[in-house]
C-alpha cells in the first residue's frame, strides 16, 4: 500500500507550555537527584518520562531543576536506580492547576 508521507510534527517547546501553569516556587527543592548514580544509567528514563522536561543530560552530566515540577511522581517510578529522592513541596507551595 502506498504510504502518504506524514507532515512533520511541530512540537511546542515545553517551557512555553509551562508558562501557562502557576508555580509557587519554594527555596528548598522537593526533589533531589543523586547525580552520581546517573553516571552509569544508559537508558535515562527520567529524561523521557518527565512531563515537564526537567531532566537533561548535558556534557555527560545529569542536570535537574525542580521549579517547574508538576508533582506527578513519574520520575521516581521510572528511575530503577532509585536515584531520585522525592517528596511533596511544603503545603501551599509548588504547582497549582487552575483550568485542568
Amino acid at each position: 500500500m502506498q504510504q502518504i508521507a506524514s507532515e512533520p510534527v511541530v512540537t511546542q517547546p515545553i517551557e512555553e507550555r509551562l508558562e501557562l501553569v502557576r508555580f509557587k516556587v519554594d527555596k528548598r527543592p522537593h526533589i533531589r537527584v543523586n547525580t552520581e548514580a546517573c553516571r552509569g544509567c544508559d537508558l535515562t528514563p527520567c529524561v523521557y518520562v518527565c512531563p515537564a522536561g526537567l531532566f537533561e543530560i548535558l556534557g555527560g552530566e545529569m542536570h535537574f531543576s525542580y521549579e517547574h515540577c508538576l508533582e506527578c511522581g513519574t520520575c521516581y517510578v521510572a528511575c530503577e536506580r532509585k536515584a531520585i529522592e522525592w517528596d511533596y513541596p511544603r503545603g501551599g507551595w509548588g504547582v497549582s492547576f487552575r483550568a485542568s
Binding site: 501557562l20 502557576r22 516556587v25 527555596k27 527543592p29 531543576s65 497549582s96 487552575r98 483550568a99
Partner: protein
C-alpha cells in the same frame, strides 16, 4: 508598642497570564493571595514585636468576603487582632479613597499606632499610593521602599535603622523614630510558615467586619478620584547582556547571580584641571566612546 499592618488580597504574580496577542489579562486564572510585599510588612511587624517583647500587631484589610483569607494568614503568622472593612461601593474605590478609609479606621481607636506597615505596592496595580496617602491622611512621617530594617533601643526609645531602595539600584540609609509609617518592599524578609496550631486557630477565627462609611472620621473626596487608565500594554524592556548562572543553584541564587553578575557599578570619574585640559579630556572621552 502598637503596630498596625495594612494588608491586601491580590492576584499572585505567577498566576497572571497576559494574552500575547490581545494584551489582555485573564482574570479567571488569578490565584488570590496575600500580596507579597504585604506579607513582608506583616513579617517585619511581627519581628519588631517579638524583639521588643511587648506590644501588639493589628492586621487590617479592606476587601470583600474572599479577602478574609489574608486576615487568616495574618492571624496564623501571629497578628494579635484582625479586622476587615467593606462596603459594596468600595469595589470601585481608588487608592486615595482606600487610604482615607484605612486612616478613618486607625483614627477610630483612642490613639494612633506607634508604627504602621504597608506593602510598598500591590502585585495588581502597583500604584504604590495607598501607603504614602495613608501617612498623609494621618499626618505621619513615612519611609517608602524599605529593604532593610533593624531596631535598636536608644536611651529607652525605639530607633529604627532603615535601608530604602531608590531608583537605579541606589540605596538610602535612614534613622527613624516612631510614630512613623513604612512601606515595605517584597525582598525585605521571608515571611514565616505558621505552625499547625496557629493555622488551625486562624481557620476557625471569627472576623470582625466594619463598614468604612460608618466611620466618623471617614472623609473621602470621591470627586478627586484620581487615576484614569488610558492604555494597558506589556512592557518591552531593553535587552541586556546577562550572565548565565550555574543551573545547580536555586532560582533565588540564580537570580541573585544574574542581578549582580550581569551589571557592574556605574563608574563616575572626576576630572580636574584647567578649562583647556578639561575640554581636551572631554573630547577624548567622546571620541573613545564613538560619539564624535
Amino acid at each position: 508598642m502598637r503596630i498596625a499592618v495594612c494588608l491586601k488580597q491580590a492576584p499572585d504574580c505567577s498566576s497572571v497570564y497576559v494574552d500575547p496577542v490581545s494584551g489582555e489579562v485573564d482574570t479567571e486564572r488569578f490565584v488570590q493571595t496575600l500580596n507579597a510585599a504585604d506579607a513582608c510588612a506583616l513579617e517585619a511587624a511581627l519581628r519588631l514585636k517579638e524583639q521588643s517583647g511587648t506590644g501588639s500587631v493589628f492586621a487590617l484589610t479592606l476587601g470583600p468576603g474572599e479577602s478574609e483569607e489574608v486576615l487568616r494568614v495574618a492571624l496564623a503568622m501571629g497578628a494579635d487582632t484582625i479586622e476587615r472593612l467593606w462596603h459594596p461601593s468600595a469595589a470601585d474605590w481608588g487608592p486615595l479613597t482606600i487610604a482615607a478609609a484605612l486612616a478613618a479606621r486607625l483614627r477610630a481607636d483612642p490613639s494612633l499606632p506607634d508604627l504602621i506597615f504597608c506593602g510598598e505596592q500591590s502585585s495588581d496595580w502597583a500604584s504604590g499610593t495607598v501607603g504614602p496617602a495613608l501617612a498623609a491622611y494621618l499626618g505621619l512621617p513615612q519611609i517608602t521602599g524599605v529593604i532593610g530594617l533593624e531596631a535598636q533601643q536608644d536611651s529607652g526609645q525605639l530607633l529604627l535603622r532603615v535601608t530604602r531602595r531608590l531608583e537605579r539600584g541606589y540605596r538610602e540609609r535612614l534613622l527613624a523614630r516612631p510614630p512613623l509609617l513604612l512601606t515595605v518592599h517584597e525582598t525585605l524578609n521571608e515571611p514565616r510558615y505558621p505552625s499547625l496550631p496557629a493555622h488551625l486557630a486562624a481557620l476557625q477565627a471569627m472576623i470582625t467586619v466594619r463598614d468604612p462609611l460608618s466611620l466618623p472620621q471617614f472623609a473621602a473626596d470621591f470627586e478627586a478620584e484620581e487615576t484614569t487608565i488610558v492604555e494597558v500594554r506589556t512592557p518591552r524592556p531593553r535587552p541586556h547582556r546577562l550572565l548565565i548562572p550555574d543551573s545547580q543553584l536555586s532560582p533565588f541564587e540564580r537570580i541573585g547571580a544574574i542581578i549582580t553578575g550581569g551589571t557592574s557599578r556605574r563608574q563616575a570619574r572626576l576630572v580636574e584641571g584647567s578649562p583647556e585640559e578639561l575640554a581636551h579630556e572631554l573630547v577624548r572621552f567622546l571620541k573613545e566612546r564613538g560619539f564624535v
